[in-house]
Chain length 479, copies 2
């Protein structure tokens, strides 16, 4: 470790990426806060490399000087995973090429800075989808999605980012480039470094490119918003639909009445889903992959839509659902999705929103919802709880607008939600990652032997501790 001054370091970064691609001071503001505004920091500088070799050079420079590196792509994270006080923020935004799309092989080769919606658009031309969809897809980049193993609304059919990735290229903390750009569906040549890097939030290296899996775009969608009396009734609907359709459910999303109220208040131009207000509203979507399920009959209806209507009608007659609206057009379908995808915007109408990202086994969703609502209201009786959920994969995003101004109360509510999830066999971090924000939960709930193994791996691969220091792994076991 040399005694580099900040100026020397900035000059050295400029020598690697070009002076114009090193950003400091006021210009670095976009890289100095989370988009939620929850966290702020002052980086040493932002470096915007053009290729993997430049990334490797920056990492070697940081090792020599002992400077922390914080990789950042779309900056849409929710767990303070890119806080970089005094760090080199390594922005992947210039490494954004979609290098190759091979429709026959159903893969694309992309660089980490490629924005998800650009990938979506590019592959759609080939009748394919990259089924990683969430609200922030217009700015989130594939590198960040890989680093956090992002989830979203289609995990129940296609898996999370990990399951959509065949290979990665990464710069390890020692500055070495690992080429694991496998396009293979079977490859057992040693330890699974790919999956170790995925979800490590940049603490074990910087993913610079990936081979991603594409899927055929469903030939037809059938989409509905449904009101049921309880989450368990919702899950009975899910099971029925999966059984009848042979597993064609693409998304199954829960929105509570209080969320609908807030959404409609925020968007006075929007229509309510039903005439009556319901507590349990579900967005369900089926996707038809076979032509015979997608070809409209004489009445203009596709078999997949007919099937959805048939199941909904049957359940309605049994009294197992309260109301349902099936989208009759792509416009109506988008209207339904717009509601669901406004969840981050709606929750953050109040900057003091308390949020969580828990998951439990599906059959525990209702009891989890009841318990966390009760616990939160016990701690703050004036709180407005909003629990949007990826119901189909057991992932519930508790959000609450507190009446209490006391940060200790907010913290206690967060901890109580995590605790109830873990008590039901669940996790305190389903799809957002750990960053800094979830470290108390990581300390409290993660298996100690597993934590120790993670620390040993981190120490082995990053002995100087330069890669996104302080994230994922809590410093010790004390709270």
């Amino acid at each position: 470790m040399t005694q580099d001054t900040d100026e020397n370091l900035i000059e050295a970064l400029g020598a690697i990426v070009g002076a114009a691609q090193v950003i400091t001071g006021k210009d670095a503001e976009p890289w100095s806060r989370e988009w939620t505004g929850h966290a702020r920091w002052t980086p040493l500088a932002v470096a915007r490399p053009a290729n993997t070799e430049e990334v490797a050079q920056i990492v070697r420079l940081a090792n020599r000087s002992g400077t922390p590196i914080v990789p950042v792509s779309g900056n849409t994270g929710l767990v303070e995973g890119t806080c970089g006080e005094g760090a080199i923020m390594l922005s992947l935004d210039r490494m954004s090429a979609i290098r190759e799309i091979r429709p026959e092989a159903r893969i694309a080769i992309v660089e980490s800075g490629a924005i998800l919606s650009r990938i979506h658009d590019a592959v759609e031309e080939h009748g394919l989808i990259f089924p990683l969809f969430f609200g922030a897809r217009g700015s989130a980049m594939i590198g960040g999605a890989l680093s956090t193993n992002a989830g979203g609304s289609n995990v129940l059919r296609y898996g999370s980012t990990r399951h959509l990735c065949l290979g990665v290229e990464a710069v390890l903390p020692n500055g070495e480039i690992v080429d694991l750009m496998s396009e293979l569906h079977k490859d057992n040549s040693g330890y699974d470094l790919r999956d170790l890097l995925i979800g490590a939030e940049g603490t074990l290296g910087i993913i610079t490119a990936a081979v991603i899996k594409l899927h055929p775009k469903p030939l037809a969608y059938a989409t509905a918003t449904v009101a049921v009396a309880s989450l368990n009734d919702g899950l009975a609907l899910l099971n029925r639909l999966q059984k009848e359709s042979g597993g064609a459910v693409e998304a199954f999303e829960f929105m509570p009445g209080l969320f609908m109220d807030a959404y409609l208040e925020r968007h006075p131009e929007a229509r309510p889903p039903f005439e009556a207000r319901h507590d349990v509203n579900i967005l369900v979507e089926l996707g038809a992959l076979a032509p015979r399920d997608a070809t409209p009959g004489p009445d203009g209806q596709t078999p997949v839509a007919a099937q959805l209507e048939e199941v909904l009608t049957g359940l309605f007659e049994e009294g197992a659902l309260l109301d349902a609206v099936v989208a009759q057009s792509e416009t109506q379908r988008r209207e339904m999705w717009a509601r669901r995808e406004a969840s981050a915007e709606v929750a953050r109408l109040r900057p003091d929103v308390i949020d969580n990202d828990v998951a439990v086994p599906l059959d525990k969703m209702q009891v989890l919802h009841e318990r966390i609502t009760a616990r939160a209201l016990e701690l703050d009786p004036g709180l407005t709880p909003i629990c949007v959920a990826h119901l189909g994969d057991g992932n519930l995003h508790f959000a609450g607008w507190p009446s209490s101004q006391d940060p200790a109360v907010h913290k206690a509510i967060k901890a109580a939600v995590d605790e109830e999830a873990v008590r039901l066999g669940g996790t305190f971090s389903a799809e957002h990652g750990i960053g800094l924000a979830k470290q108390p939960a990581m300390r409290r709930f993660k298996n100690p032997a597993a934590l120790a193994a993670m620390r040993a791996i981190k120490q082995a691969l990053d002995p100087n501790g330069i890669m996104n220091p302080g994230k994922v792994l809590p410093a010790d076991n004390s709270d």
Copy 2:
């Protein structure tokens, strides 16, 4: 490290698992060789623990005495992954409970010693499958399947063992038990230790139990044996079937004419698939998950079978296939599978068989097949090449009966096959793992930075090097 004598160690093992569960000398013979007969060794003793705590105690004992531990379950491996000269062979065969099956959640909780076919039978009662099928399923155990990330014939629809596992419990090399028995579909709480342990062949710890994913059993199968002019014609058939069926292909397996010849010679009671002999024979199976695809029409035929026939008839009329037989009964279906599943038995009719386990991207299968056949015949013009393949996932098992007796020629053929696969963007180890047998290829082809990272991880988690030493990671980069 103490100066334990072998006798002291055996006594100490007896104190942990009971003297009757420590096997030495002649009785240890079943744990002293690979089933193929290719490798033989003399273990110190075989210890058969009854539970995870006993496994942990054995590992701690081995750490104190510096004794190697080699975990073994069904002993059906193919890469000398359980060679254990002087080692404690830790057999998981007594830890064989299927602890729980939860049909609604589509999971089972199993111990590592559970034999695959027992799991298959147990879940079938619930209309479910655990879709990990390969010839050795009657003796292979789930622990070994996880440790090698085993593949098999259904990877194209369901993924390999890794993709069928939600959580694991394992004893780490330091004797600590990690409980990662997650039942969740989303869980981003730290590094992916589960996938690091899966496929590590016991070198980073011993998997003792797992939460495995179950799938609905197809309501109907449609199975055929098809003859085409080339592998590329076969892949065109696969693409057509996937498109028409919406991805319902369960298996797509290639058997060459020379394999058929050998099979029929070995099984004179068996029928040839076609009247004429063909070079490229394919077993294809579709699975219907939705009731409407599985309900027989007035003619008794299911829609999925009708679809298979329709596609085959269409291609036949186009001249794109040479012959096809659709199974008309479960008996005929089993007859078709019996041929394919005899591949290990047939290949080993000659003990000097040269085998490989390579994979390439699908569109490279034909050129791979041509090149490796040519290379092998160049090295041994009298060789009989047999290339059975999981064509649907790009995994080709080259097997050849040599005419040459020269081990150097055999070695050169193996190396040439690996080389051609790697040259085409493929791997030298698709689904069997590395063990000792693939170390030359690992040294030669694996990305050096990746190898170094694997070594660092191994050293960090197993500083005393007791866990299945010498497997997976070659000692250094020299050949």
